[in-house]
Symmetry: D3
Subunit: 244 residues, 6 copies
């Protein structure tokens, strides 16, 4: 099975890390490749960033299908371009936010998401609502750390994630924690361990690896997204982008 991650940024320095983390949870026989964007932002932290990442995400998803890929992961917690990408192909296209919220909902009474920035809180609340999970969302709390600082070292995130997770558990009633950035791949078990040492026995969901397992699941089950929800776009004149 061939899975393609489309990491919707132009910052290629994240590359080896991404593949390493995916390899850790992949099943034998799953081949994972990753592409970055040619056009788009250095990181995704706003609706504006998502909007400018989306056209090239769509192009990369289409290319993946043409290359015989079995399923695509849009490797960002903002799930940028998810609907549009599902329209243009017939293979599964996985959003880490959607996948990790649903898995979190199955793991306990309510979950909280740890956002990298305050400004993303409304977006995660909106996404929980859109994915039908608002009643399972305990809260969204911000770790207040810009994404690009992840390149400098991700250790600082563990401590902040643990602090915010404890608040979410104690004050908001969270029973499950979702890390709110695919750039945190690989840190979930460490956050979970640190929480357990503080007496909080709650699962911590990593969105990137969860998306990968969901991609494998759909391919093994021969399931793809409904074409009644995501029909192919009507053909028409389009200026400035390659026609679909």
């Amino acid at each position: 099975m061939k899975i393609r991650a489309v990491t919707p940024i132009i910052t290629e320095s994240f590359g080896p890390l991404i593949l390493e983390e995916f390899a850790r949870v992949a099943r034998p026989g799953t081949e994972i490749s990753n592409v970055f964007l040619d056009s788009g932002p250095a990181s995704v932290e706003s609706a504006y960033d998502e909007a400018l990442a989306t056209p090239d995400v769509i192009a990369q998803v289409r290319r993946a299908e043409r290359e015989g890929i079995d399923a695509v992961i849009i490797n960002c917690m903002g799930d940028p371009g998810l609907e549009a990408a599902r329209e243009v192909v017939s293979i599964p296209v996985i959003g880490p936010c959607e996948a990790s919220m649903h898995v979190a909902a199955m793991l306990g009474h309510k979950f909280s998401v740890l956002a990298v920035l305050d400004r993303i809180i409304p977006e995660f609340e909106d996404k929980a609502r859109k994915y039908g999970l608002q009643d399972k969302l305990a809260s969204v709390r911000s770790m207040d750390l810009p994404v690009l600082e992840l390149e400098k070292g991700r250790e600082q995130f563990v401590a902040r994630a643990v602090d915010r997770a404890v608040e979410a558990i104690e004050e908001d009633g969270a029973h499950v924690i979702v890390l709110g950035c695919t750039g945190l791949a690989g840190l979930a078990r460490r956050v979970e361990d640190a929480l357990r040492q503080k007496g909080y026995d709650v699962p911590v969901v990593d969105p990137a690896s969860t998306a990968l397992k969901m991609a494998e699941t759909l391919v093994d089950l021969k399931l793809a997204h409904s074409k009644r929800t995501y029909p192919y776009p009507p053909e028409k004149e389009i200026v400035g982008y390659m026609q679909y």
Copy 2:
């Protein structure tokens, strides 16, 4: 007061019609201008179309603010790029779908939206949900007429809209009707009259003119969208688009 419509398509033949319809409902002293896109689709009928319209919508909204415009209308019922556009400026940016759904919600118990195509039904349901109005939405029904056929003559739409509206009233409990395309501007009163002749005394909301009145309202009230919801995007490297 200066209002700018950004019509998020490249099909300029709609131009005179749009301005004529806006002029009909504008207050004295409101100057309305309209721009089309340089890059984007011929019409907006899919998430894919919306995605490819959005980058240029953002650019046009930014330009409007630089030109001293007081408020912008993204002149399409899909509200493409609404959040991103609100992030990059501090003037009000109005979405006809959001504005017309809220006005419809104030006019009666429940409203139905008449979509141009079957494929757009889930999007309107999602938007009602996102705008917090899902409990006021009676239904979405499709008129099954592609947008570009509007150029050929809009008369056929009146009869179809009336038929679908009657179904929405009788079967879904709609008390208010929203026309689901800004390209139908000017037809609302005719649909309303035809319904009244059939014994259905329900208001019919036109999204484009409703958006214009909402723009005037916000400017007169000196209100703009919350910068806590739509903060300016963080500065960063962006490839393939003008930097914000």
Copy 3:
């Protein structure tokens, strides 16, 4: 266009203030008049007050239509008699609570209402629910100042409103503030400025002027409330009130 405010109290000392505030936001050509009640309470602060204001509100709304008025505002945040008044006429009847909650919902992720008294908190929660907006309501907070003290000087309200607004923003996630009393007309911009100086860039919605703009909007759009939701009452014997 002629707009009539029905201020549902017998305390006429508010009169000049009301007209002054409306004049500030009205469009050229809008004529605004205000009437008080012959029968009813000195202020509206309970379901009991609303109940005893309602019969004369209905009579005044009916009179307004007979006098050729184009739209009526029930000038109180409790929207007393809104449904009954809409039943007896065919012109738009605007409730400031309904209008300002919908406008607030469009301005940002979630809004909070500042009530004058603790006892009104449940009513605003119920109204948000009734108007279909409960998912957009962050909270209702009380300023703890009886309405009739407004006559003595409204300055004290600004400071209290700012304090409660900061709590709503910091603790409840409010991105928009609604002033919970039409007697506060004219103070919204001052509260907004004071919040901005404290670093909170959020819009503050004034219910009375918002209601006025919504009245103008409906008249310009030739829209009125649905007669399927608000049909004329059946004729019947009524004792103690003028028959409809």
Copy 4:
């Protein structure tokens, strides 16, 4: 225990019937009295009727408490004046709509209400929502029979109620039926029997007798409505009505 029904109409011909029906279900030791209004409508079929019934309902409820009554029933499915009446006394005030919807919610998966008129459908939907029961409401269906025709003979209602109940069961998934008018008191068992003969084994809830049992329940349990929700109204000048 003394229970007072306040039947919020001026049509006294319903009197003996009401007392007879209450007596049928009352516990030994419950004394039931009924009063009609001095001012108000002949029947309650609109928000307008409810508004004009409410001031005298409040006065009658206050009088009942002064006379040593233990609990009051506002004997109409519209629950007119329920909040205001609860504010002015400290004895329980029961609304048949609220009581019967809650009992219906306990009897099965979902319930439907049979309204006397089409125009009341939105009101019952709003009330289910207000009482927190919208997710238990399968539908509201209209029997299309004006209330005052009940005086002429109530037999015709049984057949219509059965027909609408069958539709509610088959098409809307109703598992419990609520009769939507207290004027139908005494017919619930007959509708239930007729449904059983057609193969539908569903409980049919009569609102008036359910309200009586709820009144007895609260008195026996020494419970009254929360004064945090229904605090006494602030004293103030009121013109045209006796001061509270």
Copy 5:
């Protein structure tokens, strides 16, 4: 009328207390009996305890109907086996949690439940949701006192209940309090008095006595649970339990 309490534990020392409390609120002519389980747990504090109580609850409910009992109360706030028990008989089967939540919902704006243990909080939230009352639930707070300590003396519960109730009122907006354990029968009035002395005038609902009154209400009204929701189970081979 004969009411049977099935107390779903094997700890018979609670027996006299239970009957004494029921007798206090029963109507004249109501005969109340209580049975404990032959198989099951010493107390009910987990889904595991509920699961192991359920088979014998079902058997006891069936036996009650065979013995001519008019209605059964499953005398535990977890309502264990409620659906299954309703399937196997045609007499009413009352759950104290369901009954007390609905009565609480009628008494004020929102209610809070005081759970005996932290671990039961999610269950009460789930039950409010299942019973359709999630929007009326202000919060669930834990008193942190294991059920079996009730045998040693229930005085300590009053103080803890009062403390948690004050928090629920002040921090969560509760207007009504529900005691979260039928083992607390008889303490509601004392908690209510203590709250009143602290200035909190809120009703406190006792689940066991509320369940009893609901049982009487349904028997008097000749209502039972809908057989469309709770049809008799299909006959089939069952190993390890008496066949139904």
Copy 6:
């Protein structure tokens, strides 16, 4: 990885079929075993059946953990004993209903469940609600075929499933179909193919195989259910069952 299916019935003739179907979708290296119950019903079609299956389900799940199993599937669409079983172990326990509803929610706008019997419709609606997915549920429709007839031949189910699926798509707006019984394992692709031939391009979710993939996913991700939601039961005396 070792996965254990606990099929909560005593009808062992389903055994080979179950293992065959699981083997079809399992990843290399996944060992699957299946056990039936010693005590319980021949099939699960009621709350009563679920209640009597649950004690032995719990025992089997505990045994599985002692035997070194990595994750357990309760192999029935009713998810009987799911909460209690999760309490007694620390390995993941998967419910096919929960897993398949969440996967269906990710595949399209709304999903419908095809129940084997009319009587199970309310249970699936309740479960969607409990799992937080009620807004993604389009409808539940019954195929009206008792489970034990599956032994005689499952071909008849395909045609009925297709008919009900078409109704769900056309009348209820379903975009995804969930087969409502784990006894239908292996038929999903055939129903999907038949629907595609009729022009309906919608995914059909098989609950048993979906549960298996979710079990593998959680084991690979080293995730288990939250012990804050499912803490170990307190130790206490239990009569009639092995102590936990």
